[in-house]
Symmetry: C2
Subunit: 196 residues, 2 copies
């Protein structure tokens, strides 16, 4: 079966936008999505890259650019009150769901992305995250145990190292075979690659 690998971080608004579109693109191509949660901060550290918002003029333009894409896609986009957000626990949660509760993975990702960039909640605040998890039907104590699991922690490290080894420098990054496409603005290239 065809597949597209999707390296993402919940702290990346471009990854959020890609997440809103990629399932449709994959379905149209009869392809499955291989989800690859990674820690974008770790990728930045390893590659020397940095968030676009570290250049003030680029950050300002990016906000308008993301809003134009959100309008084109017909999806909500609201930036959280402070940005960037530390996503370590949330990303560990994504890896944990894949490892221990795979049936819950899609619902978990949806809850995180919709809270972070659909509603613009302050997901840097653990209490806000706890509220979002509860509303999505996740038990707080079980989630805390999941994200404290050494194998889960190591899984996130491994995904991040794998990403860097494959040439990833930002998020989202998509692979079709070894063809690497960076950015939610390259979904058309992903669709073309899947159609080949």
């Amino acid at each position: 079966m065809k597949q597209v690998e999707f390296y993402f971080d919940f702290g990346s608004p471009a990854s959020y936008l890609a997440w809103t579109q990629l399932p449709k693109i994959a379905a149209a191509a009869g392809a499955r999505i291989v989800w690859k949660p990674m820690l974008l901060g770790g990728v930045f550290k390893a590659t020397g890259n940095a968030s676009p918002v570290t250049v003030a003029a680029k950050g300002k333009w990016m906000m308008g650019d993301l809003a134009r894409f959100a309008a084109r896609y017909g999806v909500p986009l609201k930036m959280p009150p402070s940005f960037p957000v530390n996503t370590m626990a949330m990303m560990r949660g994504a890896v944990g769901m894949q490892m221990r509760q795979p049936a819950d993975f899609d619902r978990y990702v949806k809850a995180m992305y919709e809270a972070m960039f659909g509603r613009g909640l302050n997901m840097g605040d653990p209490d806000v995250v706890a509220g979002v998890l509860a509303a999505a039907g996740f038990d707080a104590a079980a989630f805390a145990a999941l994200t404290a699991d050494a194998a889960v922690k190591q899984g996130l490290v491994a995904n991040t190292e794998e990403a860097v080894a494959r040439g990833v420098f930002g998020a989202p990054t998509m692979f079709v075979g070894e063809d690497m496409h960076f950015g939610q603005d390259r979904l058309d290239f992903v669709a073309q690659a899947l159609a080949r």
Copy 2:
């Protein structure tokens, strides 16, 4: 008359790709292009931005990405033997043509871009530039005088400062009114803005 302002540097392969497409887009919208030669190095210095190639993984991806766009556009793309290239004299030439020989401007831009990224010549070498100028019908002595003209030099500085003041951080950057669009991959937004 509708217009799109185009801030560019001959050293930017993305600006080259945009240059191959923008005239068609402007013509389709009945808009004119306002050419804004600027010094990208000056923009980087003023904004804290840097060439994508300063992050090795990003530079590697970018080369493939540019090649995919060139294939989509059906235009040649060949990177010069060393990159980035110091474009100070070439950019002064662009400003000089606008100021002193406006009828020659389009031909001059075409000669520079086709040599730099269409054929991948070593335009960091003044002898190569001289050969390209001669082949395009420009007199070497007259060109040297043009690029040494204080008003021309100041014109390039003024364009670069104007760009930074308007929020430009890279090349190409296009304005439709005060809507700013960064990158040759945003020509669709430019076309949409011109259609409004």
